[in-house]
Symmetry: C2
Subunit: 207 residues, 2 copies
Amino acid sequence: MNVHLSSYLCTSKHKMSEVQKSELKRKALVDATISLVNNNGFHATPISKIAKIASVSPATIYLYFENKQDLVNKIYLQVKEEFTSYSFANYSEETPVEQSFKEIWNRIAQFKMGRMDKAIFLAQCDNTPVIDESSRQEGIKHLQPLLDVWNRGKEDQLIKPLSDYLLYAYTINPLSFLIVMQQQGSFKIEAQHLEEAYQAAWNSIKL
Amino acid sequence: MNVHLSSYLCTSKHKMSEVQKSELKRKALVDATISLVNNNGFHATPISKIAKIASVSPATIYLYFENKQDLVNKIYLQVKEEFTSYSFANYSEETPVEQSFKEIWNRIAQFKMGRMDKAIFLAQCDNTPVIDESSRQEGIKHLQPLLDVWNRGKEDQLIKPLSDYLLYAYTINPLSFLIVMQQQGSFKIEAQHLEEAYQAAWNSIKL
DNA sequence: CGAGGATAAATGAACGTTCATTCTTTTTTA
DNA sequence: TAAAAAAGAATGAACGTTCATTTATCCTCG
């Protein structure tokens, strides 16, 4: 039977930490998957290895996910959701465009620097055919606040009237590239670089 | 025995197209690999399928490449070399910095648009752990002329004194992102977009 | 409150398939 | 006719997934 269902029904008293035992196990699976996929790629990562690193039997994974594809789809959507809810946590439609963009950009940078493994995992899923098309579509929706800021910026003639894909390519995507380079050991991102990066991003789209 | 060796030794008369038969076969293997890896990912692409699409026996692949890893390493380096020699074909150290950068940028864009499958293949290899570290290092060397232009630009105070990784992230990498989006069917790159993209690139790094 | 039977969760071993690679034979080339 | 190239079938290992069984949890009743 599905693991999550019982978590809701379980109303026992003498179980405090145990109520979340399945959540801990799930987290271990997520972390193991992210780390292995980042280092070996999805199809070079066997279920058996994910299980071993998460200290779980391979069969247990199938209590949490339908199959290997479902595993990566679900983890992708979960991490994407973590990423965007962190990035837009302080978002308000009242904030002026330039300031709002800067705040979002900084939180995106903070997330990518602080949760580097998750950022790299997202980059790999976004750029290669490992996740389902429907999961990819689903993931894009979460970016709406950023698109809203850009639209306000275009209306107010503060931001060039460019396609959202171009705006993304020149302001957000460079961060993914830098993170990947850092993981590959080619480059070390310092605080100074982040300031320069923000200036480059803003210069590329400001009117 | 190795296939290439005999190509050099073969001096027969009544073989015109046949001299390059092995080259044709190799090209078929390269094309099949690029297409399949782009659509399925490297580890989800069986040797047997590459062989079928290239109209060749699986065993024949092992006459051209040592193993599957060697296959992707060699193809990566070959395509990277095609990419850079196209991009720097008209390069001259005499050309002024801004013009030189623009010319290189345009040829890079031309290559990526005209050989989209190869551009996507490179992007996938550059961003995921499919190729060997040594091949990756080898591939980076080919970008030297671009780094030279940037260095001249920094000396002449035409370009911000940024790390080459930042300059790459903001001027070249966005093109890779846009190409991947186009392949995924989310975005269609028009001539207009390329002009806008160049302006964004230059604005992000110019002093 | 505490034991024990029922139910759910977790496991390791097993299954069937697929894959990379090799071996033997056939075909092509010189 | 000899030597290289190509082929298809064979091999052994690895994988995703399932199954039968064990272990942990829960609820009821003494």
